[in-house]
């Protein structure tokens, strides 16, 4: 600058005097070399476009503000039935996904060794040809099932397209790696349904949450915050009571009416203890249990063998003294929870990652879900509802040739040693083992779709070794993350703000909604929609694959699906909260006023308003027949039992004696009932006296958002931490270790150690250390890499042998002060 401040002040008096005569004060101020504040060149014309946020599975409707065609701000779409105008902090950083100097701008082919990160830019024609050659090769060799897809993001139409493609191509290997996806296995075993049901939070009076931090990073964040604000505090409504069960004082525990800390991994025991009290005190819904459940009382099967019932098991095994001993929860608290849960009906018992992060996850989930059945909150308002119907599809019927039929019928590579237990035993652990050993068949082509397992998984070496076994790895990532570095070919996808899509698979919603994703601006780089890549491959492959997917471009497919919505005469385009209620009120009575004469009008409205909504018919008094073997809710899972019994004896013996399942199966009938199992612990309790619990945070989720400066700067905003990890330790524990707030410490597990700063937090359980997930990248862009530590680096890879979820909360560590940083 030409003038420094001192000179400027000196000249001030003169300038003012001169200005008053000549009228050039503004000129004097702007006469500096660089103007202090840049003028905006454009006309400033403002437009808004609706789309959907794809940064987590929450599915919030968004609207983007554009000034002169340039996106400047993302807001929640007030018309969206999911979030009603709110938007979580991560959603605001969406523009930094779109505008980011670390984006991959063109297809890349590996030139160096794998993992060396040396690439050659190639054209789309060449890249597609390369990809297609491999796909064709597998088909020609009659091994289409050697194709594996690891998906971390796809939902709605994109997922429908991928599933369709893989079915027509002939592979069963579509594995969802999204770490946000709650396991739906308990629903399959007890309910007989494959997908997560709807949770009717809107009408509930009590939420008994087992380790589900739904106000922070679990569940659709903006939706849960909206419901919390709406249901909890608005006058004139019954205030929802929330009881949070969690060893750590999480955000939800802070906002709950009551927080009950318990020993790590003992959620299942507590749930059973609560159930015990309800049974003993007669607080359960007897009519429901009698009429609509199976396996509560002792029973005799058609071969004359007698089996124990859930009630007997509860009364015998889960009396309060024992449960209190296991969980560390005082008996009074167990009784109080049982009574208030029974009194405040309708209520829902939910579970979250606190539960699924242990090796006993499935049985804990079943125990918690059993509470829902005890109070009759199954298919009743304010409880757990039928999963809402899927929106109609415009795709032609699936055509499979013989090869595809055969390929799809192969047992998926992510099942335990190829065991045919469709209900159970699917896990990433089995996937890695099977790829390693090449049994039952090798994987030759792997597609990584917006997933970063080399960052998100513990013991990444295992995944890396598995990748090395796969001859051809394709990544669709739009940024060079840790896993894409190991790929052979990168076909960069658009970011979600440049994409056409329809989104409808938001977990836990009690209604069907479709939100349109439309390009806010034209794709900025030479990227291509993954849907278009798949469609062009289908076209090249021809035959039955092309017949199953005849569309030529993805936008056309989106329009066709939207047309199917229009033709179905179901639902309506949302136009606001009260209008939506009124619409569904009318439609239940057979009226509909928001009719569009033509599809074009419907399409215009969909683009403008963003969402389509269908509220299901209210729950009828008649309890539906469930698709379990008994047609009822099953405490004793016959699905699991029959599958197990159908196995040949030698396989049963192997499972019993030498498999991750042997512990559960040695308990006889208990294995098919909700029961408590000790969670696995890794590490010697004397050498490693503390537990490491990683937790996810709203700003980063699983780490995909770490390359956004907006979020990295507020990564620990509740703890006043920026750009770094922090280790939460109880002040008591810290005192034992002679650690003060802000000290650098080492956290060491049998797998390695990380250096991080201690953060004394009284809400941390004594004897534990908590690390946030999502930081500690080694790649993924300049704002993400080398910031903080990744707890996955020192976690032991453990998992639930049945449910398959990764047991992140099972590693023991020791903690010691680092000498000078």
């Amino acid at each position: 600058m030409g003038i420094n401040r001192r000179d400027f002040l000196k000249q001030g008096a003169f300038l003012l005097a001169a200005a008053s005569q000549a009228g050039w004060i503004s000129k004097a101020v702007t006469a500096q070399d660089e103007p202090m504040i840049e003028a905006y060149p454009g006309a400033g014309i403002e437009t808004w476009k609706c789309s959907v946020c794809r940064l987590c599975p929450g599915g919030c409707g968004i609207k983007v503000r554009l000034v002169d065609g340039r996106p400047v701000k993302i807001e929640g779409n007030p018309l969206s039935p999911v979030n009603r105008g709110g938007l979580c902090p991560a959603g605001h950083a969406g523009l930094q996904v779109l505008f980011n100097s670390d984006r991959i701008s063109t297809p890349l082919k590996r030139v160096g060794e794998r993992g060396e990160n040396r690439w050659e830019a190639i054209s789309w024609e060449e890249a597609l040809q390369l990809f297609y050659d491999y796909l064709l090769k597998l088909r020609n060799e009659k091994t289409p099932h050697h194709l594996l897809v690891l998906d971390g993001e796809s939902r709605g139409l994109q997922k429908r397209l991928l599933e369709r493609f893989l079915e027509a191509y002939g592979t069963p290997n579509y594995f969802n790696l999204s770490s946000q996806e709650p396991s739906s296995l308990p629903f399959l075993l007890m309910h007989g349904r494959k997908n997560t049901p709807g949770y009717d939070f809107q009408n509930t009076r009590f939420i008994l949450s087992f380790g589900n931090d739904f106000l922070d990073s679990e569940g659709p964040p903006s939706r849960m915050a909206y419901l919390f604000g709406e249901l909890r505090q608005n006058p004139g409504r019954n205030r929802v009571k929330i009881v949070q069960i969690d060893p750590r004082l999480s955000t939800t525990a802070v906002k709950a009416d009551r927080w009950i800390p318990l020993n790590p991994g003992t959620y299942g025991a507590l749930a059973l203890g609560v159930a015990h009290i309800m049974v003993v005190e007669g607080l359960y819904n007897k009519t429901f249990v009698e009429n609509h459940t199976f396996g509560f009382e002792d029973w005799v099967d058609n071969k004359g063998n007698s089996h124990i019932g859930f009630k007997t098991l509860l009364l015998k095994e889960y009396y309060p003294e024992k449960v209190s001993g296991i969980t560390g929860v005082p008996i009074d608290d167990i009784i109080r929870v049982a009574r208030s849960f029974a009194e405040n009906q309708p209520g829902i018992a939910i579970w979250g990652r606190g539960v699924t992060n242990h090796s006993n996850a499935l049985f804990s989930q079943m125990a918690i879900h059993a509470l829902n059945a005890l109070v009759g909150s199954i298919n009743s308002p304010g409880g757990i509802l039928e999963a809402p119907p899927e929106p109609p599809t415009g795709l032609p019927p699936l055509v499979q040739d013989k090869l595809a039929q055969w390929g799809s019928a192969q047992s998926p590579v992510f099942q335990y040693r190829g065991a045919k237990l469709p209900a159970t035993m699917e896990s990433l652990a089995y996937l890695l083992d099977n790829i390693q050993s090449g049994e039952p068949y090798p994987i030759e082509v792997a597609l990584l779709i917006h997933t970063n397992p080399l960052f998100e998984l513990p013991e990444k070496e295992r995944f890396q070794k598995a990748l090395e076994k796969i001859p051809f790895v394709v990544s669709f990532s739009s940024e060079m993350d840790e896993s894409s570095i190991w790929a052979d070919l990168i076909l960069p996808d658009h970011t979600y703000l440049e994409k056409w899509d329809l989104d409808y698979e938001v977990p836990q919603l009690p209604f069907t909604q479709v939100t349109i994703s439309q390009p806010i601006i034209q794709p900025r780089f030479n990227t291509r929609h993954i849907g278009d890549v798949i469609l062009s491959c289908a076209r090249l492959l021809g035959g039955s694959v092309q017949k199953s997917l005849p569309e030529t471009d993805y936008r056309g497919l989106v329009q066709k699906e939207a047309e199917a919505l229009f033709r179905s005469h179901r639902g309506f385009i949302t136009s606001g909260q009260f209008e939506d209620f009124f619409q569904s009120f009318l439609s239940r009575r057979g009226f509909k006023y928001q009719e569009f004469a033509t599809f074009e009008e419907f399409w215009e409205a969909l683009l403008k308003e963003g969402s389509w909504l269908e509220i299901p018919q209210p729950v009828s008094d008649l309890f539906p027949r469930l698709s379990t073997p008994s047609g009822k809710f099953e405490f004793f899972s016959q699905t699991f039992y029959h599958q197990y019994k159908a196995l040949p004896h030698h396989v049963q013996n192997v499972l019993k004696s030498d498999s991750p399942l042997s512990m559960a199966l040695s308990k006889g009938d208990q294995a098919f009932l909700p029961h408590f199992e000790e969670p696995n612990v890794n590490g010697d309790s004397i050498e490693y006296p503390y537990f490491l619990y990683p937790f996810s945070i709203l700003t980063l989720f699983d780490g995909k958002m770490a390359n956004r400066p907006l979020l990295m700067e507020m990564v620990g905003f509740r703890r006043n931490v920026q750009w770094d990890s922090w280790a939460e330790i109880n002040p008591e524990t810290a005192r034992e270790l002679n650690i003060r707030h802000g000290d650098w410490i080492w956290i060491e597990s049998p797998r390695g150690r990380v250096k991080v700063r201690a953060h004394l937090y009284p809400g941390a359980m004594p004897g534990m250390v908590y690390l946030p997930l999502g930081l500690g990248h080694t790649a993924s862009g300049k704002y993400a890499s080398q910031k903080g530590v990744n707890p996955n680096d020192i976690l032991v890879f453990d998992y639930d042998p049945l449910g398959g979820s990764i047991a992140r909360n099972s590693t023991r560590v020791k903690i010691y002060k680092a000498s000078v940083a």
Partner: protein, 230 residues
């Protein structure tokens, strides 16, 4: 002339930080390097304050979003030697960047510590700079900045109303934090209009203001069951 004010319901607030992110994006608040953040130089016009009380497991934690209070009797304007910060007729405490000499007296005088100083020329990533909001000027080095109640939104709403030849409606002007709050815990409006939602809520028995005894007369009210926080 309206008197703009805000009400934050702490019983609804989940401390999610959406207000913080929305504010930064809306107002082109520059981000700093990790090294500067370490020295406490992060710019943020609204912060979530966390207060922890007690010992495990008998704990009480509170989250409190803290924007500028836009005091009716603001201590910051009294100490400014160049009148760079002043109170407008509509009650908004504003800041004139080209006039600010960077003495930071106002920062010292503010009992709520909601003002930030630009220690450096903001280092914008060339890509991310493309998403800056043209309605809000980028601040140069050496000036103090703070929450403006998204004053530019007021100007826009007023101009739009004038263009259409009508009175501006109160709900047309909402700051970014209020607009985005997922829990609908924040409210904004005219405190002098007895029927406005903020005026009604500010009379609630749950309502309180921060450090009322200082006589600053803040225009940000908080609602909370139980006792006052500070």
């Amino acid at each position: 002339m309206p008197r703009w004010g805000m009400v934050i319901d702490l019983d609804k607030c989940t401390g999610c930080g959406a207000c913080v992110a929305a504010c930064k994006q809306e107002n082109n608040v520059a981000y700093n390097t990790p090294e500067e953040a370490e020295r406490g130089r992060t710019l943020s016009w609204i912060n979530i304050m966390t207060e922890v009380e007690g010992e495990y497991p008998h704990l009480r934690v509170r989250y409190l979003p803290l924007p500028c209070m836009h005091c009716d009797n603001p201590p910051c304007i009294k100490v400014c030697p160049v009148r760079a910060t002043y109170k407008a007729d509509n009650g908004i405490v504003a800041q004139i960047y080209p006039r600010c000499i960077g003495c930071r007296y106002c920062m010292a005088a503010c009992p709520y510590t909601v003002k930030d100083f630009n220690w450096f020329e903001p280092q914008w990533d060339p890509e991310i700079k493309k998403t800056t909001n043209p309605d809000v000027s980028l601040r140069p080095k050496g000036v103090v900045e703070k929450c403006t109640f998204c004053h530019h939104r007021l100007i826009k709403a007023r101009e739009q109303a004038a263009l259409e030849g009508r009175e501006m409606l109160e709900e047309e002007y909402q700051p970014a934090c209020v607009e985005t709050c997922p829990a609908n815990a924040m409210f904004f409006g005219d405190l002098d209009d007895p029927n406005s939602i903020v005026a009604r809520l500010s009379r609630s028995p749950r309502a309180f203001r921060l450090m009322e005894d200082l006589g600053t007369e803040p225009k940000v009210y908080y609602l909370s069951e139980g006792e006052k926080i500070i």
